[in-house]
Amino acid sequence: MKRRFRIYYPFVNAGMQQVTTYRVDWIFYLLGNVVHSLVSFFIWQAVFLSGSEETLNGFTMPQMIVYFFLIFISDTMITSDASMMIAEEVRDGSIAMRMLRPVGYNATFLFFELGGKLLTQIVLIVPVVIGVEISRFVLSGVVQFSVLNLLLFFVSTILAYLINLFFSICFGFLAFVIKHIWGTNIMKNCIVSFCSGAMVPLSFMPDALKTVFMLLPFASLNYTPVMIYMGVYQGADLLFYFGLQIFWALFFWALSKLLAMVSAKHLTVQGG
């Protein structure tokens, strides 16, 4: 374990260095996400205010605030560029350099992204959670913040990230078949974003659709962590949804291993 840490720590470090080297990129990326979540919040607030009810599809105003800002955190947390990195490396042949190292192929992506993510999370999570909790307190008059839920949320987003990473790696291996996957990747991100509840809370959707998304890996990515933070899942429910996340993470991990093996045979390293 300790040995593994020593081997992969440099990748974590390299990931952080990448962020600090291209900090302006990174800051704009974060700002873009903040704006995005503000916009979606204000749209839903307008919908909320235009109705005469106390709740919208069972969401009170404070709950909506929590939902849209926490989903912003989880969405930032689970984002993985692995598919594009793989596709790019397949295209320009630099995937060869990764294969020449005595390290696990998937693990290098994981630890590299982890580095950048740690920084992102530190910068995001504290102010967003404080902001959300203050506005929730102001609106409802009671302190609803739970440290336990925050910790469980954090664990759940890590599982969600793993699901998305391994899914992205699987998807990236498509690059062996389609040499340019840029367009397909955008479509994939769009579908994931919609089906995981990042655009519209899943509870707003028709029951049948919601059930499907809940069981498919989608809900595990964004909706589940946020529900955990909001304290909606308790006891057996909580265990069930954690179990589902773990199942999907293992499923895509195994699939990515299989695809890596298959595509190694079809790899044609281009250039020089």
Partner: protein, 334 residues
């Protein structure tokens, strides 16, 4: 040490006709053709040998190296290095080899060079003491000190190549694969790199496979040459064998005041040389004649030249390997 048996690699190339129509056509009816990049190549390299692996552009050298390093899976045939099959146990195998592709870097673009080595130290599990000794040695032979704290993306080509070679040697590999390690470098850097390869090879019995277009690399370093062309093995033997088998070319150099030496001498007509067997280059008063000494003995060439024009400073040189290889590449080898 390295066993290569009947190695073959085919690539599928998609063919696209030009223009929009071609694009649409290939979208719905993708057409592809087989390219045989490596065709039935076999050779053997004993431990501690430096093998010069040469051939014209597109011969398939890089493809062979990629298969030997486990990056590409052969279509058929086998390669075994140190008893291991490169693609079977990749993680274990790559610990024992060092690889440099001159055309691309394996260093992290954004990291300072020193940190890159730190990363490699951990990845390859080099202990502190060996690491310090190794870095000292590499510093000395490749002169890394002057740029070791700079990010890799700011290095010049020569610096980057030295850095890459040092990176490939950090973990004391048993086999070193170098694919055009001197491409685009100046004489001093080339010399540095050759010295490093030589030292590593003699001190640690490292087996080296080296592809290059610079035949000085071959002459200084290689114990043996394997030459391939269009994916096929065309020569396997020592530099000396290559010279004695194909090296009847000689170079006659002289200086003359006579105005049109080439027109006056007319070697081809005089001795009935074939097209490839003689060539004359004039530069001011200096004349360089390359000729096949198997067709016309050196003595005949000399006496004919001396009788026909007024000559000062005449000499005959052994063919250099470059000349031999130039002829081989041009004619192809049967």
């Amino acid at each position: 040490m390295i066993e290569v048996a009947n190695l073959r690699k085919e690539f599928k190339k998609t063919i696209k006709e030009p223009g929009l129509k071609g694009s649409l056509k290939s979208l719905f009816h993708p057409q592809s053709e087989q390219v045989v990049a490596v065709d039935n190549i076999s050779f053997h390299v004993p431990k501690g040998e430096i093998l010069g692996f040469i051939g014209p552009n597109g011969a398939g050298k890089s493809t062979v190296i990629k298969m030997l390093t486990g990056i590409l899976t052969p279509t058929s045939g086998k390669c075994t290095i140190n008893g291991q099959n490169p693609v079977v146990n990749r993680k274990n195998y790559v610990k024992e080899i060092g690889v440099v592709f001159g055309q691309r870097t394996q260093l992290w673009w954004d990291l300072p060079l020193r940190e890159t080595y730190g990363v490699l130290k951990e990845i390859y599990e080099v202990d502190d003491k060996s690491y310090r000794e190794r870095m000292a040695f590499l510093n000395e032979t490749l002169d890394l000190d002057s740029f070791i704290s700079r990010p890799v993306r700011t290095l010049s080509l020569g610096q980057r190549m030295r850095a890459d070679i040092a990176a490939s040697l950090l973990h004391s590999p048993k086999v070193l694969f170098l694919d055009e390690p001197t491409i685009g470098l100046d004489v001093v850097v080339k010399d540095n790199i050759r010295r490093a390869i030589e030292q590593i090879n003699s001190q640690e019995q490292t087996t080296v496979i080296l592809t290059t277009h610079d035949l000085a690399d071959i002459e200084q370093l290689a114990d043996r040459i394997v030459m391939i062309d269009k994916g096929k093995n065309v020569f396997d033997g020592s530099v000396r064998t290559l010279k004695s088998r194909y090296g009847q070319m000689r170079e006659l150099n002289f200086v003359t005041e006579s105005p049109h030496p080439a027109e006056t001498l007319r070697y081809r007509e005089q001795f009935h040389f074939a097209e490839d067997d003689v060539s004359v280059e004039c530069e001011g008063t200096a004349v360089k004649v390359r000729f096949n000494s198997a067709v016309v003995p050196i003595a005949d060439m000399l006496s004919y030249t001396l009788q026909t024009v007024q000559v000062s400073d005449i000499s005959v040189k052994d063919a250099d390997i470059e000349e031999i290889i130039r002829r081989l590449y041009m004619q192809g080898v049967e």
